[in-house]
Each structure stands twice: as C-alpha cells, then as structure tokens.
Amino acid sequence: MRFVSFRPASCAIAAVALLFAATAPSQAQTRAETLRYVTGASVNTLDPNIPGATRESFALSMSTYDRLVAFGRKQLNGKWVFDLDKITGELAESYDVSPDGLKITFRLRKDAKFQDGSPVTAEDVKWSLDRCVTAPILGKAQLLTGSLTSADQFKVIDPLTIEVTLPKPDKLALPNLATVYPMIINSKVAKAHATTDDPWATAWLKEHTAGSGAYVVESFKPGEQVILKRDEAWNRGSPQKPAFFKRVIVQSVPEPATRANLVERGDADIVIDLQASDVQSLEAKGKLKVISTPQYNAITYVSMNNQIPPFDNVNVRRAIAFALPYDDMFKAALFGRGAPLFGATWPDGKPLNGTYPFQQPVKIDLDKAREYLKAAGLPEGFSTTFSFNVGQASTAEPMAALVKESLGKIGIKVDIQKLPDAQMSTQINEKKLPFFTEGIVAWLPSTDYFYRNFYTGNQRWNYSSTNNSELAAIAQEARFEPDKAKYEEDGRKLNAMHADLMPQIMLWQPNQDAVMVPSIEGYTYEFHRQVDYRDVSRK
C-alpha cells in the first residue's frame, strides 16, 4: 500500500479543468456536411414493419427505403407540413387512377437503382407489397385501412409497370402506399436470406437493409446510434438530386436537459423532443431556430370509459367537460405550446365544419357542471381515479393536479394514479381505466378515419369504449363517400354527435417543437412526427 498524497477538492477540479483545456476539441472536417440528430428515443430495428418498432425506426426507414409514392408538402401558417392531398411519385415516375377508382397503375422510374446497383423492377415492388399484406408484420393492419388486404391485388404488367386493384374506390389506398410500411425491398437480396420458417426475411431485414433509399446504413447500434451515409446515385428528391447531408448521425441522448445543451452549443444540429420549458427558454434566447407546428394528426384527450359507471351516464361526462380548467391545464402542461381544442362558440349550436378534430364548445363553467351532475342523479359527486403514464409525466402530472383540484369543487373526489407505460397500455387495452389522459396519432388524418379507429369497436384505440351503432354506421358510410359535399355533411353529423354525447374530451394538439441551429433549413413536419433527414439542408 503506497501513500497517496492528499489533494484538496478544489485542486482536483482545477486539474480536471486543465486536463480538458490541454487538448482543443477535435472537430472532423466534414462537420458541415454531417447532420447530427439527437433524440430521447432510439432506433431498434432497420425494418419498421417489425412489431415493437419505435418511431425513430419509422423515420430511419424513410431515408433508407423508397416507397412507390410520397406525400407532398404545403405551408400551414408559414410552416412546412406534409400534404395528405398531394401525392407525388417516389419510385413511381407517374401513376394513373382509373375513372371508377378501382385500379391504380404505377409506372416505375427507369433510372431507379437499389443501393447494391441492381435496378428496381415491378417484381421487387410486388414482392414488397405482398410481404406487407401477407407476412405477420405491422404493415398488414395499416394497409387494411386502405382496402389493401391480399397479394392478388398487386399485378405485374411489365418490368416497369405494376397495377393495384381495389375492391371499392378507397380514398385511402393511395395515401397508404406513401406511409412507412409499404417500403420497396430488393427482393433478390431479401429472398436470398429468407428461410422456410421466415419466408419474408423478417429476421434478416431487422438488422440489414436492402433498399433504394437516399441513405445507406453505415453502422447500427440498437439503442445507441445509427450512422448513415448518402447514396450518391439517389435522385428521388424533389430537385432530382441526392440528399444534402453526406452523413447523418442519429444518436440517443436520454436526458432532455442534455439534448437542450447539445443543440444550444451547436454540437447537435436538430432535436424535436425537448421539454416545453426548455423550448421556451431557448426560443427566448433567440440564438436557435425553433419551428413549432401543432401536430395536426395527433390529439391529447381526457378520456372516460363510457361503459364504466358513473361515466356511462352522459350527464356525468358533460359535467366533467364543463368542470375542467382548460386554460390553466394548457398553460401548466404545455406552456401554451399547441393548438387548443376547447373554448369554441357554436352560434346556432351546430358544428362549424365537418373536420375532425374540431374545437369543442366547452369551457369551465362550474354551475353548469353541477347542474349536469344533478341531472345525472349524483348531486353529491362521487370518487374516481385519474390515470396517466410515467412517460407523459412532465405534461400529465401538472394537468392531473389541476383536474383533481377543479373536480373537487363540484364534489368529485379524484385519486391521481401514475402508471408505468406498459401497465397503462395494458389497462387501457383491457378497458379497466375509468378516467385517464392519453394521446392518439393518425398517419392519415381524415374525419372518417378518426371516427372509425378511435370511436368504434372493442379495441385499444377506442379509449372511451364508445359503442354507438349510429356513429359507427355514419363513419363507415363516409369512408367510401366520393361526393365531397356529402362527406362534409357526414362529418358535421359525427361532430354534432361527439359534442352531444361527449364520449371523451379533446384537449389540444401539442406542438412539435423542432429546435435547430440557425443554419439548418427545410425542416418539414411529417406524418410520422419525426425528422425526415432528406428534407433538411445546411445553408
């Protein structure tokens, strides 16, 4: 045992400082050509179709694989967002929809090549789409919403032409082909790695890519980072040339404060999942570019299980809707960063339009709430629990406290229940939670889609467990309604029912706050709510 001389703590810290100062930060020369994107989540598979794939995996696959078509973009209040109504070709040079809406014919680009140099053929497209509707993967449930259910629907006409047949003229068929899942895979490579147990090569594609996308995966460490290299031959972007950045680093940084520091110091280029308070202070400092887009395909709810007493009584639900302190909740949870879905005035008591989500005609009015409670036969109030998941704690916790306080004033005693994420999703799925807050997202936000998926059936996403045959029938009918005016009318009917039955309360659409160094341009809010690396460039 040798004696080690004692150093006071201050000396030790100074020594640490000196050590750091001794070497200048080593910056690679290609820094300007590299996009460093930091996120609290992580990529867990290279194939977004694998059950359990994270949102970051979805975003990654947009850059590593191409699809037949892609969404255009439009400006909404001065910010770029994806445009559901403008579908442009990606691997398809052009497409035609037959007059009866039952056939869509895609002509492929002649110059499109996979990353291994082989040409993209209609055979590859068919194999990939077949995989999406046949293999036990996530794409199946998604494509179902666009009436794409069987391999028979995809027909190769010639090496560069493929035809998709629909049983009904479904408005969502084409947009579905632009979503994450129906990516086009190099079928020769994938088939070489298929086994008899796994004919669609899901195991291999989870850790390898075989696509024609703008970026090639250089290294993939699940849960830590992915490094992408630009494919110089890729030309499917809007100006027909490769993506801007030569290299993209997608790195997981779990601590939100650290992510904020990184982007503020310019070490990271862009981040989209900061805490609302950090975003606000960074915006106030004015050094960084902050683009806040209300997530117009996502909604945060206060949900009530319409099958569990006392929430099976419509007047109880109405009482709650008039007893929530909306403005305070909006400020406390999101610092007002989002689009509110409350506080509208409907002059003649009818919906203003037929789009969902809509601003509801509710605001805090405790007298009205008490009247509704009396009408429900519960003038003394009742006790219940209000649940939220740990992952949402930073927004849901302050909100829950306000809900508890306000409902207490009309005699409803609320116990706040904070559940681990897995437990929360289990209980929602089993329909055991009476009263809780959760959010939803729809990739293809059309009114009928929202009502069909979030207000019907005994399934997880029907948070309110609504079981209303009239509502279900109108939504189902609207799905295949070709006449725009009639579709709008159906939407108004549904919205009026929603306001009357109050199955659950829409609170707001939170902002997607993209914070980036000032040199980054072109950021677009995408349907998958992640950064599409192909969109951005450096000034």
């Binding site: 004692f6 750091f20 930060p25 997981s252 503020e264 110091r265 897995a422």
Partner: protein, 344 residues
C-alpha cells in the same frame, strides 16, 4: 507459498459452488416477479398506430407468453442452460449480446469512479483521523455530507453545466466516445484500454475525457462511506498499542501512519469498497442516463419500464453473478491485506 495459493483457489472454488443455489433462487424469483408485475409487454410493444388484437397475440407468441407460467419457467431455465438469455423487444437484439456490449461500459465507468473515490476518500479519512475534532476533520465531514446529499444526477447535471455548457472544456456528454472518433478494434471492451492496445493516443484521450465527468459525479456520491469508514478504523488503529510502541521507538511519521496504522485499518475499507462497487454497478442508472452512457443499468431500467422481461431477468442474473465474484475478490483481498484471515 504455492500450497497457500493452491488452497486459496480451492477455497475460492468451493465458495463459488456454494453460491450456485443462491443464483438459482435469484433466477426463479426474478422470473416470477416479472410475471406478477401488472404490465403486459405485448400490449406495450404493439403500439404502432394500427396495432390491434392480432399484433398483440403475435408479440405474445413471439415472447413465449402464450404458454402457462410453469411452462415458460421450464423453457427459460433450459434456455439459460444453453447460454441463451432470450431476446430483448426493446433493442431487438439477443440479451446476451446487449449485455456483453454494455457491461464493459458500466464496468469501465464504475472502476474509474471507484478508483477516484478511493484515491480521494482514503487520504481524507486518514487526515480526519489524524486530527479528530479539528477543522480538517469537520471539513472532511462537511464534504462527505455534501457528497451524499447531492444525488448523482444533480451533481452530474451540474458538472455538465459548468464544464460543458459554461466553460466548454468537457466534450459533449453523449456516451463513451465522441461520435466523430472512430472506434479501436474491440479487445477488452474497455475503450481506454483498447485505444492504448491499438496505439491510438488521441483516441485514448478522447475516451478518457468522456469518462472523467460521469466518473467524478459517481465518485462524489461514494466518497462519504469510504472516507467515514477509513476515519473510524484509522482512529481505532492509531489508538492501539502497536502504534504507540512504533511511535515510542521513534519510527518516522510516514512509517507509523502508512505501514502500521493504515495497513491494519484497511480491512473494513476493502469490505465497504466491495459493497460500494456492487451497488454502484446497479445504481449508477442516473449517471448513465444523464451522460447517455450505454451501460447495463440504464438498459435494465428502460426494459423494466416497458416490461421487457428478458433483459430485466438477464440483468438481475448478471448482477447476482457479479456480486458473488466481487465478494470472492474481496475475500481474497482480505487474505493479501491480512494473512491471518482465511476465507473458510
């Protein structure tokens, strides 16, 4: 001498064998505990925007949860017997591969932190013991109290704020190595050693810079128990007869304090260091999170939150085995520090 070493080895082997039933108990207990927790991993992972009943069933099947619990346990045990810890839903990788990649990161961090802590705590404790009740003693006590009071993530965030954000001296706190530095060929998994083996001094320095802040924030937290124990046992040792004798025969200050007093006082410090090490390895999750350190603890926490059974079970098994090994190492260190102690 050889027989001494040989018999130590035999004893160590016997100790190892006798810990097997405990490990088995831990295995079964964790397995059952995970099944009792109310979250259903299948529902959690079937969270795509359209995932319905079919997807949930499919994941349940994939995770083997469609079988009865005793059946699952038998399969699990037979898998363990074949060296297969299952597959993580979170990262999509085999748990064994994940742990193998992440354990060196945690070990490197913990060893460094323990080293820093020992280097700081032992002299502090000795100093405090030499002048009990003095300003120095109180100063050490205050420093230790502060170290324990401030949770590691607070000290971690503070260090980041000062050294990275304000001063710009430290590299960005994102993992073991700067993203722009290329990795050395993997040999031990300890980056600081691999870089040296690869002869890449710049890389070694880059890895060390990443390591300093997290290691210091972890060390701050464990300096207190180590320093307090050193002080207490030094006090006993300094007050004993052999030190008085050594002093009276006029031995040098250094010889008295270091050779006689400290050597005799070090046994409890080793014990505590062993315990501290095991706890640090599992409990450094906050530091790992704050510094985006790709270690086993943050991996296990993420798995626990999403009810991902296999990684949690793998982690607990790993920790239990490490605990056994650390205790064994501590016992062997005892023998070296004090030949009178045997580990029978």
């Amino acid at each position: 001498m050889m027989t001494g070493l040989g018999s130590t080895m035999v004893r160590a082997g016997r100790r190892l064998l006798s810990s097997l039933p405990a490990l088995f108990g831990v295995l079964v207990f964790t397995f059952l505990l995970m099944r009792v927790l109310p979250g259903d991993p299948a529902v959690f992972f079937a969270s795509g925007p359209n995932a319905g009943k079919e997807e949930i069933e499919q994941i349940r099947k994939q995770m083997g949860l469609d079988r009865s619990v005793p059946e699952q346990l038998v399969y699990y045990l037979s898998d363990i017997g074949h060296g297969n810890l299952g597959r993580s839903m979170m990262t999509g990788q085999p748990v064994l591969k994940d742990l193998r990649e992440r354990l060196p990161a945690s070990l490197e961090l913990t060893f460094t932190a323990l080293l820093i802590a020992l280097v700081a705590a032992v002299p502090l404790g000795v100093l405090a013991a030499l002048r009990p009740g003095s300003i120095v003693d109180h100063g050490v006590r205050l420093f230790c109290a502060l170290g324990v009071c401030v949770p590691t993530f607070v000290s971690g965030l503070l260090l980041i704020y000062v050294f990275y954000y304000l001063l710009g001296l430290a590299p960005d706190p994102t993992g073991r190595i700067d993203v722009f530095t290329s990795l050395p060929p993997q040999r031990t998994g300890f980056l600081s050693i691999d870089f040296l083996l690869g002869g890449d001094i710049d890389g070694w320095w880059a890895a060390c810079k990443q390591l300093i802040l997290p290691a210091v924030s972890m060390a701050l937290f464990v300096i207190a128990p180590l320093a307090r124990i050193t002080r207490a046992s030094m006090l006993v040792s300094l007050g004993s007869d052999f030190v008085r004798t050594a002093r009276s025969v006029g031995l040098s200050w250094r010889k008295v304090v270091v050779t006689y007093a400290l050597r005799n006082a070090i046994l409890p410090v080793i014990t505590i260091a062993g315990i501290v090490f095991s706890t640090m390895l599992g409990a450094n999750v906050l530091v790992e999170k704050v510094f985006s350190w790709p270690g086993v603890a943050s991996y296990a926490l993420d798995a626990l939150l999403s009810s991902d059974y296999a990684p949690v079970q793998g982690f607990v098994l790993l920790m239990a085995s490490l605990f056994v090994l650390v205790n064994l190492a501590v016992d062997i260190c005892y023998g070296i520090a004090d030949p009178r102690v045997s580990i029978e």
